[in-house]
């Protein structure tokens, strides 16, 4: 791969990566030697600084990640306070509930249960301190396993997870409940569930 192409590919991968990406993983993905990847990361990091971009390429725990330039924190803060909706979307609440009842659980498991990609939602929940990584699964890639936090219990006014309402008690069954909810929302003309995992 040409230098230019390698830099572009790395940039693209970093743009969508939720967690810091290890150079070894990049090397494997792009089928290039680790040193070349390291060199390109350095080149990109310097380029962003020289060009005074609004973001930097930071090295975190050995991995590489794009993040905002510290200078611009005031704007990012304003955005954070302004943009984030004041309650969880249906999709996010469902994801949180799955973590609460099924913990420890991996993103992949949640995703296959919910039928959509949940990376963005789990990250949001993790950032807010409602869930955290509590371990690693065996198997390929050792995916992170999530559980709920003390903050989560506190916010819900619970002393322990055992105080969560038992889910078997709820009638009618889950499908019916879900459908009813949706039909009623439709009947009421209020916003239905987003259907995507956007928050």
């Amino acid at each position: 791969m040409e230098n230019d192409e390698l830099a572009r590919a790395i940039e693209a991968v970093l743009l969508v990566a939720v967690e810091p990406v290890l150079p070894g993983l990049l090397a494997e993905l792009l089928e290039e030697p680790a040193e070349r990847v390291e060199d390109t990361l350095t080149v990109l990091a310097n380029q962003y600084l020289d060009e005074r971009r609004g973001f930097v390429l930071a090295r975190i725990a050995g991995g590489a990640r794009l993040q905002t330039h510290p200078d611009l924190a005031p704007y990012v803060e304003r955005f954070a306070n302004r943009d984030v909706s004041h309650r969880l979307s249906t999709a996010a609440l469902e994801t949180l509930a799955i973590v609460a009842y099924r913990q420890p659980v991996s993103r992949g498991q949640i995703s296959s249960l919910r039928g959509v990609n949940v990376d963005g939602v789990t990250r949001l929940l993790e950032q807010r301190g409602y869930i955290e990584v509590v371990g690693r699964a065996d198997g390929p890639g050792q995916p992170a396993l999530y559980g709920t936090t003390d903050l989560f219990l506190e916010r819900l006014g619970l002393n322990s997870l055992e105080q969560l309402p038992p889910v078997e008690d709820f009638l009618p069954g889950p499908e019916v409940a879900g459908e009813l909810e949706m039909d009623l929302q439709a009947a009421l003309g209020v916003d239905g569930p987003a259907g995507s995992d956007d928050v």
């Binding site: 954070a80 969880l88 249906t90 609440l93 819900l156 889910v167 009618p172 499908e175």
Partner: protein, 270 residues
């Protein structure tokens, strides 16, 4: 292969009859339709072993158009109607053709949608969210969410998405009227003055029943018979009966609530 009809004014294939009627060469009022139908039924009975279904459906279509044309002619107030309006058979067909063409257009548009979506999927958006340090500024997203909300969300979230298995679109659904639901709700025996929507619909087996019951509740609310409340966004509806005794439910004379409800709901405006 078509069915030949024989009437005092016309003898020949039934399609030809339709054509002549449509082009005003034969007045449909001069054609007695009953013998045509009877004759066809007789032929059918004779061929019971080997009914030609193409012939059968063609006959039904043409006969239906003729009957419609004739009934329109027989109805008063249609004399001034445009000639075009009388050619209901052709109109229908043109409409059908227009509809088919439009559907073709939307099918082609759907192909373009797929291509656009495939192209768009080649770009992956950044959805990483805030850098770690910023989360503290964001408001508490769990405000107002109760453990029960969470349990419900779990059930919704882990429920397999319903997959429609049988196409029932050709089946006529029994209609449930809002008026009936209003009467039923009024007559529901109740020990307590308050209940919840979920418990009210626990016995419903189809969605439409639930929806109708819901509309009936709204109707009762409008009439001042119940008060509705929803504590919070994900919550159940709380229903307070404002009259412990159903006032008109068993009344036979005068204007019962049921009748009144029926009347109002026929003009249901939400």
């Amino acid at each position: 292969m078509s069915y030949a009809v024989s009437t005092p004014t016309f003898e020949g294939p039934i399609e030809l009859l339709l054509h002549l009627v449509s082009s005003h060469e034969v007045d449909v009022l001069d054609i007695p339709l009953l013998p045509i139908v009877d004759g066809f039924v007789r032929v059918l009975t004779e061929q019971r072993e080997q009914i030609d279904f193409n012939q059968l459906s063609e006959f039904l279509l043409v006969a239906a158009i003729l009957i419609e044309l004739k009934s329109q002619k027989l109805l008063p107030g249609r004399e001034s109607a445009d000639d075009d309006d009388e050619l209901i058979g052709w109109d229908e067909r043109d409409l059908l053709l227009a509809r088919l063409l439009e559907c073709r257009a939307y099918a082609a548009a759907a192909d373009v949608f797929v291509a656009l979506a495939e192209q768009a999927a080649r770009s992956v958006p950044r959805e990483v969210g805030l850098d770690d340090g910023f989360a503290v500024h964001a408001p508490d997203l769990l405000a107002g969410v109760t453990p029960d909300d969470l349990a419900q969300a779990y059930l919704r979230g882990s429920a397999e998405r319903p997959v429609p298995r049988v196409d029932l679109s050709h089946v006529t659904v029994d209609t449930v009227s809002v008026a009936e639901a209003v009467s039923a709700l009024i007559e529901v025996p109740r020990e307590e003055r308050a209940t919840s929507f979920r418990s009210l619909v626990a016995s419903c087996t189809t969605r439409i029943e639930v929806i109708v019951r819901f509309l009936a509740l709204l109707e009762l609310c409008k009439m001042g018979r119940v008060a509705l409340g929803q504590g919070h966004t994900f919550g159940d509806l709380r229903i307070d009966w404002l009259d412990a005794e159903p006032v008109f439910a068993h009344g036979t004379g005068g204007q019962g609530l049921g009748e009144m409800a029926g009347y109002e709901i026929d003009d249901y405006q939400g």
